[in-house]
Every structure is written in C-alpha cells, then in structure tokens.
Amino acid sequence: METLLGSIEQLALIKALKTSFFAYPVVNALHILAVGGLVTSVILMDLRVIGVIRSIDEQSLMRLLRRVALGGFGLAVLTGALMFAVRATDYAGMPLFWIKLGLIGVAGLNFLAFSLLRAEGMRRILAGVSIVLWPTVLLVGRFLGFVL
C-alpha cells in the first residue's frame, strides 16, 4: 500500500502538478466548480422530491439536474483523485480523508436505493438523507485542507 501510494506520487504528471504554479490551482478550482454543480443540483432535486419546490414538474427538473449532478460528480472524482495523488501517502493517513470517502460511499448507496424504490414516502425520506449527506461531504472536504 505504502509503495503503491509512493509510486503514484512519483508519476511524471503528478510530480509536475505538485510544484506547478497554475495547474494545481486550476484542478482545485475545477474540483470546487464540480462540487458546486453537484451539491446545488442534488439539493434542488431533493427539495422537489420532498415537495418544497412545486413550481416545476418533477420529471423535467430531474432529467436536467441528474445530468448536471452526474457530470459534476465525475469531474469531482477526477480532480479529487489528482489532488490526492500529489500527497497520496499523507492523505491516506488522515482519518478525515477516509470519512469523506466513506460519506461519498453512503451517499452513493442512498442514490442507488432512491433509483430503485418507488414508494413516495420512502423516496422523500431518502431525499432527506441526501440533502444532509452531500453538504456534509462538502464540509468535510473543505476541512481536509486545514488538517493536513
């Protein structure tokens, strides 16, 4: 594990990113952009499912925002992995990093359950869980930089 993380840090691309003046902040900014799009669309979809937003029909809203959320998630994973790779060994030693990944996992399972279940009451409960989980991931992600 240690050697694997160490060799990730040694990749040419990652070593360039490590000391870069422009590239790293750009990757960081893309992570923030992705996270912003993801969390915003998740909150809007959840509010629609819960019934707080009623002015737009659920289908159109979901069709649009689910794409934004999935795209945002993909970009967040990619840019997050790049930042992780720069200091892989250190991040891997931080409980907070694993808490963040764990919460992402739970939020993913919650999404899976939501996609499979049809009962209205259940969908609302899962939307309620989602609206709490994703912003919590955001908060934990922000704290990572302060603990490292």
Binding site: L17, K18, F21, R87, I131, V147
Partner: protein, 126 residues
C-alpha cells in the same frame, strides 16, 4: 406548513454539520502573536501544493512545521533538496494557539547557518 418544512430542513442541515475542532491552518489566525523558535532534526520534507511542510523531531516528538505554497517557498531558496532526514533545522515562526498541538508556521528556516526567508515580510529586522 411550507415555511415549517423549510425551517425543519434548515435545522436538519445545521444538525448534520459535524462539530469539528477549529483547525484553521490557512493564514495566521490559528497561531500565537509572538515568534517562537524550534530546533529539531528533519523527519520528512514536502515542497508542493497546496503548501510545503517540514516535519521536525524534537526530543522524540514530531512537530509539523508549515511553510508557504511551493511558489514562495522555492522563491526563498528552500527546495526539497535543501534538507534531508536527520539534518538539524531551526524554524522561526508562530506556533499554534493550542499548546497541545505540535504545529507551527515558519517565517524563516535556518539550515547549517543559511537562512531561508519563507515569509520575508514577517521576519523581524527585515
């Protein structure tokens, strides 16, 4: 009814925020006002994004010495090749307000008599 729902949601969000200790390591708000000097031997060094760090062993305890982002750190002359594990280093800077936290942010690092001013404007007599 609708207002109540929004209120309940806001409360749920607030309650979900994990009560994390205030570990603000950007800027200087988390450090003491006065300067502090730490002498130790290098355990590890990292000069890269998001910021450079130096781990110093002092009487068996490892201190985390924060430097600047890689740009200003390298501009001071300090690179990852400047020190190697076992070297003696003097770090001048501000330590954490929390006395139990073995952490400081250096304004100057001295290695073998040579000084590297990481934050030149914060080094006295500069």
């Amino acid at each position: 009814m609708r207002r109540l729902r929004i209120l309940l949601l806001a409360m749920a969000l607030g309650a979900a925020m994990p009560v994390l200790p205030a570990l603000a390591h950007h800027g200087w708000a988390w450090t003491e006002e006065e300067l502090f000097e730490l002498t130790g031997t290098v355990k590890s060094v990292f000069v890269g994004n998001p910021h450079a760090t130096l781990d110093l062993e002092v009487e068996g305890v490892v201190w985390r010495v924060e430097l600047a982002p890689p740009g200003p750190t390298v501009a001071s002359g300090f690179t990852e090749e400047t020190v190697k594990p076992g070297d003696e280093v003097v770090a001048l800077g501000n330590r954490s307000l929390d006395p139990n936290e073995k952490r400081m942010k250096a304004v100057r690092v001295t290695v073998g008599g040579k000084a590297y001013d990481i934050y030149p404007t914060r080094v006295p007599a500069n």
